[in-house]
């Protein structure tokens, strides 16, 4: 589903790469947490999957596409298979909940009939069936994030990327969002979630990939946010294990 082969990403003007020879594979239907301190390369990782950036070195395959050689004009069509959720929701303030979700489908050219069916379904799935005519500023943070999730999954993407989706929410609301993401995962969508929320990661017991200064230091099935097994030195030795 997602495969990184010795991927490095260095931004111009910096000496230390954002990602340093990262290799990993994420399979269909997995739920993966991406943890690590700020600046550890989580966002670069997600941006590379979205093909917002090209890697400096190494090869990236997503959904059977070799992203390095994907021509620019095909990127939009590739992205239609991905859903993205952000910490700051990124809703359009002048559109209603329904229109925010419908906008995604409109701009990729879906028919009016399809939109009339798919949008209420997605809103029902995230538990906002009765609020389709509200505006984002009338909703709570948790509800806004649910709208964003509805927008991300309305087109039934194969992969859902979530960049700290609970970063702005209280624990109870976060738990609701996690239940929702879990349900989306159960329906077959691969979910990749970058987070700082230790409680959530510990509770969910899913695959955890930890990044420190651009390198994978840990890749555990059913891991927690932190592990005592990892010594403070010799991070590099873990890289080999993760390579398929």
């Amino acid at each position: 589903m997602i495969r990184f082969d010795a991927v490095s990403k260095a931004y111009p003007g910096t000496t230390r790469p954002a990602l340093n020879s990262v290799s990993l594979e994420i399979l269909k239907g997995e739920f993966v947490f991406l943890v690590g301190a700020s600046g550890s390369g989580k966002s670069s990782f997600l941006r590379l999957i979205l093909r917002e950036e090209n890697p400096t070195k190494g090869a990236i395959h997503v959904l059977g596409q070799h992203l390095n050689s994907l021509p620019n004009r095909k990127i939009p069509y590739f992205r239609r298979n991905l859903g993205v959720v952000f910490q700051d929701f990124r809703l359009l303030p002048n559109k209603t909940v329904f229109d925010n979700v419908a906008f995604t489908l409109q701009v990729i050219g879906k028919s009016r009939g399809f939109i009339q069916e798919a949008v209420p379904d997605a809103l029902k799935m995230v538990g906002l069936a009765g609020k389709s005519n509200r505006y984002p500023h009338e909703l709570s943070g948790g509800e806004q994030q649910r709208v964003a999730i509805a927008r991300a999954v309305v087109n039934k993407p194969a992969i859902l990327l979530a960049d700290e989706p609970t970063g702005n929410l209280d624990p109870a609301t976060s738990a609701g969002i996690m239940t929702l993401l879990e349900r989306i995962n159960l329906s077959g969508t691969t979910v990749l979630m970058a987070t700082h929320d230790a409680g959530i990661v510990d509770q969910m017991k899913r695959r955890v990939i930890e990044l420190i200064t651009g390198q994978i230091v840990r890749d555990e099935r059913q891991g927690g946010y932190q592990t005592q097994a990892v010594p403070t030195q010799g991070f590099g030795s873990f890289e080999r294990e993760t390579a398929p």
Partner: protein, 305 residues
């Protein structure tokens, strides 16, 4: 569905940027009016060349009692000298170039002069014998005037051999300068228009950057994202070029056909409405192309993936 959406987006952009759109309309209007005026002037020059070069003659002025220039020594050209020139015009060397020629006597010259300058005081001071007799020669090819000038300038009793096109070339030089000026101003204004359109589109894109970000994220195609902006630019410049076209037609109708035609009467041909109607579509196409090009360049940085 999609067309409606794209048009709706373009309409939103235009509404949000009304003042900028108006300035784009005005600048394209002015610049394209200058472009149109330059084209009209070139058409006018072309028409005048066609008209006058056909009528342009080579004049062979014979001496009068008052001339000291040329081969004259203040004596009237004798009938023998006139006959000699006439014989030369009919000779085998010159005849192939000459379409026809006629001789203008003092009296005819005086009559022409009186009608041409009837409303000017100089007409009162001229007497028939101060105006030279002349041969008026029409050539098959006006470019051969030099042949006549060379072979006849030295003949006895000839004051001057003048190619009338020389006078016309001065007029054309003035008209050409005017049209070059119009083109220069037009180019400057067009640059301003292009930059203004680019700025307007950037502003419009900036005010919609959230939508653009989401569009790119969910996989809207580049064409879908940029078309509303290009339409915005093209729409604004389209209105400007329609106005410019209207201005050109108005200039021809009221200034050229009204004022100029009245003043010049029938002395020359002037551009007409049919010429103006050729210019209008040119202006519209030029305006639309420039707007589309500058808008698509301006929006391209928002499309980088």
């Amino acid at each position: 569905m999609r067309l409606g959406l794209i048009l709706g987006e373009a309409g939103n952009g235009l509404r949000r940027n009304v003042s900028m759109v108006i300035s784009v309309i005005l600048v394209t209007f002015i610049s394209l009016t200058f472009v149109g005026a330059a084209i009209l002037l070139q058409m006018q020059i072309g028409q005048m060349k066609d008209y006058w070069y056909d009528r342009a003659q080579v004049a062979i002025y014979m001496c009068t009692d008052f001339d000291t220039t040329g081969n004259c020594t203040q004596t009237e050209a004798t009938p023998a000298q006139i006959e000699a020139v006439k014989a030369q015009l009919e000779s085998a060397t010159l005849a192939p170039y000459v379409e026809k020629f006629e001789f203008e006597t003092h009296e005819q010259a005086f009559k022409n002069f009186q009608t041409q300058f009837s409303d000017q005081p100089i007409a009162a001071f001229v007497t028939p014998d101060t105006l030279p007799q002349s041969f008026r020669v029409n050539l098959f090819n006006p470019n051969d005037a030099d042949v006549l000038i060379e072979s006849l300038s030295g003949s006895a009793g000839v004051q001057e051999v003048a190619d009338q096109r020389a006078y016309l070339d001065q007029i054309f030089a003035v008209l050409n300068a005017a049209s070059a000026t119009a083109i220069g101003i037009a180019v400057l204004m067009l640059i301003a228009a292009v930059l203004l359109i680019a700025t307007t589109i950037r502003l419009s894109a900036f005010s919609r950057r959230r939508e653009l970000g989401i569009m790119r994220l969910v996989g809207a195609s580049n064409r879908f994202i940029q078309t509303p902006f290009i339409l915005e630019g093209v729409f604004a410049s389209f209105i400007g070029s329609i106005l410019a076209g209207g201005a050109i037609v108005a200039i021809v109708q009221f200034f050229v056909k009204g004022v100029l035609a009245q003043t010049l009467q029938t002395t020359t041909t002037l551009v007409g409405l049919s010429d103006a109607l050729i210019v209008v579509p040119i202006l519209i196409v030029v305006g639309a192309l420039l707007a589309a090009a500058s808008a698509s360049v301006a929006i391209s940085r928002y499309l980088k993936v």
